[in-house]
Each structure stands twice: as structure tokens, then as C-alpha cells.
Symmetry: C2
Subunit: 211 residues, 2 copies
DNA sequence: AGTTCATCAGCTATAATTACCTATTTTTTC
DNA sequence: GAAAAAATAGGTAATTATAGCTGATGAACT
């Protein structure tokens, strides 16, 4: 972690081209050295054993294991590794989860060289880095989130069934409850999520990773 | 297009890191030269005017304009430019459309250096390149697609409005047509897409890149 | 023991969607 | 210019979803 040695970066992304992109950006940055990379989050813990790393750059949406889970696992086993999330779009609602999981920064895939290096510099010196767009999202989601109401398991179950194109009647017989009850749940769901239509609800659910 | 000169590559992708990735891969390939890049599909036509290009690499899912639309426009204005699509996942259902629009190849973002160069080599010599995974998808979708019916522009317009949570009444007043007409369109859409509910329809639409 | 919360269930009424049907006008294509 | 495709619009009925109420039960927490 001293300033005079090279900081070792490990990259996790299921897209080879993104790995190559970061790699090429790092090639011009003498302070940083690639310690390894992988497109399979499942094998990252092992690889980190063999390849000492200071900063881990990880994608969020990956098959088999999300960046959030990976962050938790890595932080548990290697608490000193700093983690920066890389994402396609700024997904406001999941950022809080990522922060809770222990990330030190969050950058978008449309980031250029300057911003990437800036993020790495900040994080390696013990700070954090969240781009402008991200910061705005965080602020938005904090204010929005305070008045948000938690959905119960049953409600989420019903959202999933709605997403699978079941109607109220079908849901009621599938769950062995009355159609009235399903309607009540639906009503409460709409109220809690502050949505008006099934379409809006499912978008909300997708954003919040319920489905 | 001769073998002795460098082939000029233009890259379009809304993610800077992907552009960098391809760029770094090309840097090691003496036969290829970057003629330009852009993360805004809308400005590509202009840029191609100023930067003669042999092969265009374009993302499919981009904001403001999809890779499909871009392909059509580029092919119209510069018929000699070969186009290779780059995509996140192998999206079987849109590949045929891309082929119709005029692409010569299709690669995934988890492509490595070897496959990228292979694709470029094939395409610049007048051939095509579709990876193994893609080829399989194409075969699959050909059987399914034969009985599929094309949606009209108006129908797609209406799907988009449904996706934006407009009801029939609102759609009718937004498009200055009768509610009956909207219902007719809806009916035809459901029939053509072989879907039963709004939820199913929007999933179909998302898969087929209408929205 | 009391409180909160999730789940369940009913009622009435309105609004919206979907399924049938037919038919005209406009635009595109050959 | 004829034929085909797309967009337009109407009606009637049945089904489904949503809004606005009330209220009972059991489990968990304090």
C-alpha cells in the first residue's frame, strides 16, 4: 500500500473485451500492475490466493454470481482488498447494497481513461470514488428510499407470479388463497411501490432486483 | 480493400471501456488501423464522412439508436463498408434482422483477441463471421421464425407506448386515433406475437429489441 | 398483556382489457 | 392501375383489474 510500489489490480468481468479495455488503460499507468483477471466470478477467490492484489475491479451483472455476492465473499476472506464496481448502467437502487457489501468505488463502463485512473488513485490512497452520475443516483435513492416501504415475502412471491403472467384467479388457486386476498396483496403492493400498473410494477421489481 | 494496405476500422459502442478493449487488441494487429470511434451512434454517419473506413464494428444495444438502425443507415450511405455487430449476449431473435440489415459478422463481447482478428480477417476478405454460439442460435431461430409475423411500424409504436404505461385511452388521444383502432392494433399485436398478456408482450418486445 | 404486522377475506363499484365481429380509407407494392 | 398491406373505426359482450372500504386471525416482538 506504499506509494513507491505498484498497486496490483485484479479484474473480474464476464466480457473479455471489457477486461482488455481496462488492461490497455492500465498498461499506460506505471503505478498500476495487473495481478490477474477472470471472467468467472466463482474462481476469483482461488485466483486471489495465488495473486496478491490490492484493488479488485468487478462487474456487477455476471452469470452465476453477481458482483454483490463476490464483493461480500472477497471482503470476508481478504478484508484489505479494496473493491471497485464496474457497471453498465448506473443502477441507483443497488448501489446502497454494494456500499453495504463493502465497495470503495463505482464506475460506469462508459468511463474513460482519466476517470478510471482517478478512481484507482483515490481508492488506493484509502478514499472512495463515485462518479458524478452515481453520486446523484445515490442522493436520489436515499431520499426516495427513506419513505419506501418494505415488501413482505408473500408480496414478492405474488409479484413473481404476476411477472410469470398469472392472473389473480390463477394466483389464488396456485397459492390456495382467495382471489380477494390476492387483490388485497396487489393493492398493498401498488401502494407500497407507488406504482400504478402492472408494467410499472414489474419495472420497479426489476430495478429492485425482486425478479 | 487490397491486401497490402491497412484496413481501417471504426468502432461504435456506448461503453468507452469496450472501445478501449477493441482498440488495444487492434494495436497488436498490424493489418488493422483505427479510423475512428464513437459512443454516439447518431454522429457516426458524419464521422464516417471524414474518416474513410473499411469495417465498422458496432454494438447492438445503444441508447438513442440501435445497432440495427445504424447498420441500415450506414449501409445505405456507404454500401461498401462491412459491418460486424458486437453484442453482450447472443440474441438469437435479432440476428436475422441484423443479417437483413446487412451485417457481415456478429461477435460477442466475451470474445478474445483471436476470435476478433479471425472475424476481421474473414470479413475484410469478403466473407462472413458468425461464432459457434451464434450459428447455433441462427439455426434455432430459423425454424421458429418462419411462422413469425412482422409487426408494422404503427404496431411497434403502440407497443412502446404500452411499455410506457399508457392505457388504450391515452394512446388513442396521443396518436389522434380512435380507442377502437388502438384495440384493433393491440389485438393484431397479440395475435402476431403469439402472446396473451401485456407482460408477455413486453417480454417478447424486449427480446426482439422493439423497446 | 399489549402492540404490531403479515396474512387472510369479504363487499361494492368502476375502469380497463380482451374477444368476437365487420368494414372503410390510405398507403405501398408490383 | 390493380392488388396487397396497413391503418383506420365501429359495435357488443365477457372478462379482468383496480379503488375504496372493513375486518378477522395468528405470529412475533417488547
Amino acid at each position: 500500500m506504499n506509494n513507491h510500489h505498484q498497486h496490483r489490480i485484479f479484474i473480474v468481468d464476464d466480457h473479455q473485451l471489457v477486461i482488455e479495455g481496462i488492461r490497455s488503460l492500465l498498461a499506460d499507468a506505471p503505478n498500476y500492475l495487473l495481478s490477474g483477471f477472470s471472467h468467472l466470478p466463482l474462481q476469483v477467490l482461488e485466483l486471489l490466493d495465488e495473486n496478491p492484489t490490492d484493488i479488485l475491479l468487478t462487474d456487477i451483472s455476471m452469470p452465476l454470481m453477481s458482483g454483490i455476492e463476490l464483493t461480500r465473499l472477497v471482503k470476508k476472506k481478504f478484508p484489505s482488498i479494496k473493491i471497485i464496481a464496474i457497471s453498465m448502467h448506473s443502477e441507483g437502487v443497488v448501489i446502497k447494497e454494494m456500499v453495504d457489501a463493502g465497495i470503495s468505488g463505482y464506475i460506469l463502463k462508459n468511463t474513460g481513461r482519466a476517470e478510471l485512473i482517478e478512481a484507482l488513485d483515490r481508492v488506493r490512497s484509502g478514499g472512495t470514488y463515485f462518479g458524478e452520475e452515481i453520486t446523484r443516483e445515490i442522493l436520489n435513492s436515499f431520499t426516495a428510499r427513506d419513505q419506501e416501504q418494505k415488501l413482505t415475502n408473500r408480496e414478492i412471491e405474488i409479484i413473481k407470479l404476476i411477472n410469470e403472467e398469472y392472473g389473480n384467479k390463477q394466483i389464488s388457486s396456485k397459492l390456495f388463497i382467495s382471489e380477494r386476498t390476492v387483490e388485497t396483496h396487489r393493492k398493498n403492493i401498488f401502494r407500497k411501490t407507488n406504482t400504478q400498473s402492472v408494467v410499472g410494477l414489474l419495472k420497479y421489481a426489476a430495478q429492485h432486483k425482486f425478479i
